[in-house]
Symmetry: C2
């Protein structure tokens, strides 16, 4: 009961942004966050991408900074301004994001893989625009490196690793399976089939799972969700 | 020599934006312009698109309005504000753009196909996110309807049709061949392999061809290029 009361108080405190500056819970720690989609080139003109706007990752970066962390933000192609005092690295493809992530993860305390990384890339990127001579076009694609899995597999300087799972069905099952398979410390699942949350929305709802617990973060602004999530990570990280 | 002097004077006049309002050369005419990329869904999360920013099409819409036209702007997914007093229709896929274009072209005097329309779309759009169980993924795609060709093939209420050709090699040859094959009245070719022009840039350079003539519009801001192009269309349209 005491714990519950404390939690409620803590939650209430986090909801007023003016108190944020007074609680630099991440002071002295480095948090690296990936955000946005990646783009995989087909030829100089065409590419494959996804509907991630980057808003959730950028909100996490902004709030992590406000909570005292040193923040690296690895961003795919998005139309968002860099939060104040956040160090931003722009990338385009999954391979570029993979390289930047492994470089920065080794000097980070927490790594949050919020980007919607393309799982596959076209086998061969054509150097000239492909002409549409045929009625049918085939694109053969190869699996991209798995960024969050490779960060979680680091044997030296491994950060606390938080993954995201954007699913359209069986959300809990897929998310928990992904956490175990990739050896993550925490996973945040969002059901992108529900309209008004997830991709391109200013709001989101997350179900967060870790080894021995879970928490529902109901529909809220991405800024407010970012505050809740970073406090949840802090509690688990400090056990 | 007189013609040349007049042309130079006309060009010089067009370069000062204050004179634009005094020359409503498109008064009483309706111009429909397509702009931006299209997006073709692979599943609820992934899509295929291209690097068009929509800036050239939006510049054409704004200038056409300033030159007195009633302007319809059919826009793919872009991050651009609608020019003042322009009627905008937002679309996502090539099929949606095709439908909107044929609807509006029939009541237009000029149709400018500036959008970078996806030539192909995936055969089947998956209703659930495709899982990455395999090391290789195949996407089979079908040809999209050809918007500018279908507008140019209208037998009743056919507008004056201007196409664009974004090429990376043999620009003149491909552009002229496209104009003839699709029965266009004019085509604007840009070499998107040259950095600093075309996709996502604020500048562009165009080579414009029509049945018995051509004109180079050298590297300039897209607004200035739009003015030159709309005056060139006007000259050819009024012959």
């Amino acid at each position: 009961e005491i714990v519950e009361t404390c939690m409620q108080h803590f939650d209430a405190t986090l909801n007023t942004s003016s108190t944020i500056a007074a609680l630099p819970i991440w002071q002295g720690k480095t948090i690296t966050i990936t955000a946005g989609p990646t783009r995989e080139g087909i030829d100089p003109v065409r590419y494959i991408s996804n509907h991630s706007s980057g808003k959730m990752g950028f909100a996490l970066a902004q709030v992590a900074k406000q909570l005292g962390a040193k923040v690296n933000l690895i961003a795919g192609p998005v139309n968002l301004a860099t939060p104040a005092n956040v160090s931003r690295v722009d990338v385009v493809s999954a391979c570029e994001m993979h390289k930047a992530s492994l470089d920065l993860a080794k000097s980070s305390d927490v790594f949050i893989a919020c980007a919607a990384v393309a799982d596959y890339r076209p086998d061969n990127v054509a150097t000239q625009k492909i002409k549409k001579d045929n009625d049918v076009m085939q694109i053969t694609m190869t699996k991209n490196p798995d960024i969050v899995k490779d960060v979680a597999a680091l044997t030296a300087n491994r950060p606390f690793v938080v993954g995201f799972a954007a699913e359209t069905q069986d959300v809990e099952q897929y998310a928990k399976s992904k956490m175990q398979r990739k050896n993550l410390d925490m996973i945040c699942a969002n059901d992108v089939s529900v309209s008004g949350q997830g991709f391109n929305s200013d709001q989101n709802a997350l179900k967060v799972y870790w080894d021995d617990g879970s928490k529902d973060l109901p529909l809220d602004n991405k800024d407010a969700l970012a505050k809740h999530l970073l406090s949840l990570i802090h509690q688990t990280y400090n056990r």
